[in-house]
């Protein structure tokens, strides 16, 4: 028996564990199969679906290249504005919550209470927030901004808190050993560590917020979502096609730019 074989035999075996996990997974899979119901599937559905896809592939070019306030271009700009403001407000509000939920900054009870609060904020669907904010501001993009900022807080604080928990405290110790004040420690010890990561998380969330714009339309909170939902509900698939093309191109563009920015930020 050579060294390689010995090493291989010495490797810990967790077959039992893997086996039980896969059994549980199989049971869950079979249990969830009960949602599959194909009895409503007939040829008329397929015809409607192919019509929809044909409509989307033959977009309404007039709407796509219409630059007035009901054209796709303006709606996209409005969506960007909503996502941008929502991200900015959300990311500012998320900072105190992130520090309150970081377990290396505050005592354990406070951090777990804040974490539960964050899960609640994250779980309530955007539709519910939208309705609440429409009471405050009336329908329109303003309500969209507020909804976006509230839904952003949940995820942003969680990711911020992960960064804060990874904070390198030895830097702070060495700074206090050479006699820095608390303010200097925050300015030169903590902010440089966090700033790039926070910005990168913000850009990532901006990306996501653009994608979630369709959801805001459900409650009449402005952006490109509302015309998209209206067009879908009234079966104007060519309009849906032109809106979707605008949205997809915008999201892909923003994604490319934000990926470039984020790699530059993280590499410094």
């Amino acid at each position: 028996m050579n060294a390689v074989e010995k090493q291989m035999l010495a490797e810990p075996k967790n077959y039992k564990y893997l086996f039980s996990v896969s059994i549980i997974l199989c049971i869950l899979f079979i249990w969830s199969l009960s949602t599959v119901e194909l009895r409503q599937l007939d040829s008329s559905g397929l015809i409607i679906a192919s019509n929809i896809i044909l409509g989307i592939l033959n977009p309404d070019l007039e709407l796509l290249f219409n630059f007035t306030s009901s054209g796709v271009a303006y709606l996209l700009i409005e969506t960007i504005a909503i996502a941008f403001l929502g991200t900015i407000i959300g990311s500012i509000l998320a900072i105190p919550l992130a520090f309150l939920s970081a377990s290396n900054i505050v005592p354990a009870p406070i951090s777990s209470v804040t974490k539960i609060l964050l899960i609640m904020i994250r779980t309530v669907p955007a539709i519910v927030y939208g309705l609440m904010f429409i009471r405050v501001t009336g329908p329109g993009p303003f309500a969209g901004v507020l909804t976006m900022s509230l839904t952003s807080i949940g995820m942003l604080s969680k990711l911020y808190a992960d960064t804060v928990e990874d904070l390198d405290t030895s830097v702070l110790e060495s700074m206090s050993s050479i006699g820095c004040t608390t303010f200097e420690k925050i300015r030169f010890g903590i902010i440089p560590q966090l700033f790039a990561m926070f910005l990168s998380i913000m850009i990532y969330r901006f990306d996501m917020n653009l994608r979630d714009a369709a959801v805001l339309g459900l409650v009449g909170a402005g952006g490109i979502g509302a015309p998209l939902i209206f067009a879908m509900n009234s079966y104007r698939w060519q309009e849906v096609g032109s809106i979707l093309i605008g949205l997809v191109v915008l999201i892909l563009l923003v994604e490319i730019i934000s990926n470039k920015l984020r790699t530059r930020l993280v590499r410094g």
Binding site: L28, F29, W31, S32, L33, T35, V36, E37, L38, Q40, L41, G45, L46, I48, A49, I52, I53, I77, E78, I80, A81, I82, F84, L85, I116, I119, M120, R122, T123, V124, P125, A126, I127, V128, L131, M132, F133, R135, V136, T137, G140, P141, F142, G144, V145, L146, R211, A214, V215, L218, G222, L228, I229, M232, V240, L244, L247, V248, I251, L252
Partner: protein, 271 residues
């Protein structure tokens, strides 16, 4: 360009050498962001005064949700389980289907540039397509109900996991793969023994993370008739039956909390 307008600062070192320090970009970025904020405020009609005057209105609906109607709870179990089943099945199938799609899309395994390009492009399109749109189209094909929601979640998971997976495959260390190929293993065998061990933990963790998000997202799909607890939520909101909405949200939060903790436990184990 920027350096030509704002000339770099010149510093003379003790040994007489002159070096240039580029001016900081921060003021430019701050100005750009300020302009964008002002433009966005104008477009969206953001008004601090309204917010200050009427913020208390936000809590009116929350106030009406308390106390939630506990008697409604027995009606909730079915749809809640439907939501979980939808996201579970969609995530499982989507994550499985993502493997061949990712292999096709990664340019170091698929030598044919056209195939990998087309696969990458279709994954991006699928990912940017709003889930609500795919769910609505699915309701026309599969009828109203959980099946449509499952299909929408399947498509989203396929695109999301597929993208992260092909990025990982492309960044994988190819040395072992090439060595195995030169030893005479087929490409599939080499993939199995050289690439899969490198990507498996990350793949499983991405799939779990996606599942977590899908449970949350499945709640919205009810709006387009794609089944699950979203249907009841919409009904409650539509009839302004806020105590019912309260209990639905409470159950949703508890479910998501449990699922998140389970998935976090496994993801920590994978790392």
């Amino acid at each position: 360009m920027y350096d030509k307008i704002f000339l770099p600062k010149k510093l003379t070192l003790p040994n007489g050498k002159i070096i240039k320090e580029k001016r900081s970009r921060t003021p430019l970025i701050v100005i750009l962001i300020t302009i964008s904020i002002i433009v966005s405020v104008n477009i969206t009609g953001f008004d601090m005064k309204i917010l200050m005057d009427r913020w208390s209105q936000f809590f009116v609906i929350i106030g009406q949700m308390i106390p939630p109607t506990w008697e409604y709870l027995p009606h909730l179990w079915g749809p809640l389980m439907d939501t979980i089943k939808m996201s579970l099945l969609g995530s499982l199938l989507g994550a499985t289907a993502a493997v061949p799609a990712a292999v096709m899309a990664s340019s170091n395994i698929t030598r044919n540039k056209a195939v990998s390009g087309v696969a990458k492009f279709s994954l991006s399109i699928l990912r940017t397509l709003p889930t609500l749109v795919s769910a609505l189209i699915a309701t026309f094909i599969f009828g109203l109900g959980t099946m449509a929601g499952t299909v929408a979640i399947f498509l989203f998971t396929l695109a999301y996991v597929g993208k992260l997976l092909y990025e990982q495959i492309e960044n994988v260390n190819m040395g072992a793969f090439e060595a195995m190929e030169s030893m005479g293993l087929t490409r599939i065998q080499a993939f199995r023994y050289a690439i899969i061990p490198q990507i498996l933990p990350n793949y499983l963790s991405t799939a779990l993370f996606c599942f977590e998000g899908n449970v949350r997202y499945a709640a919205i799909l009810g709006y387009v008739g794609a089944g699950g607890i979203g249907l009841l939520l919409n009904e409650g909101l539509g009839w302004r039956n806020y105590p019912n909405v309260g209990i639905i949200l409470l159950m949703l939060v508890i479910t998501v909390f449990i699922i998140e903790n389970i998935s976090e436990h496994f993801r920590k184990k994978l790392n």
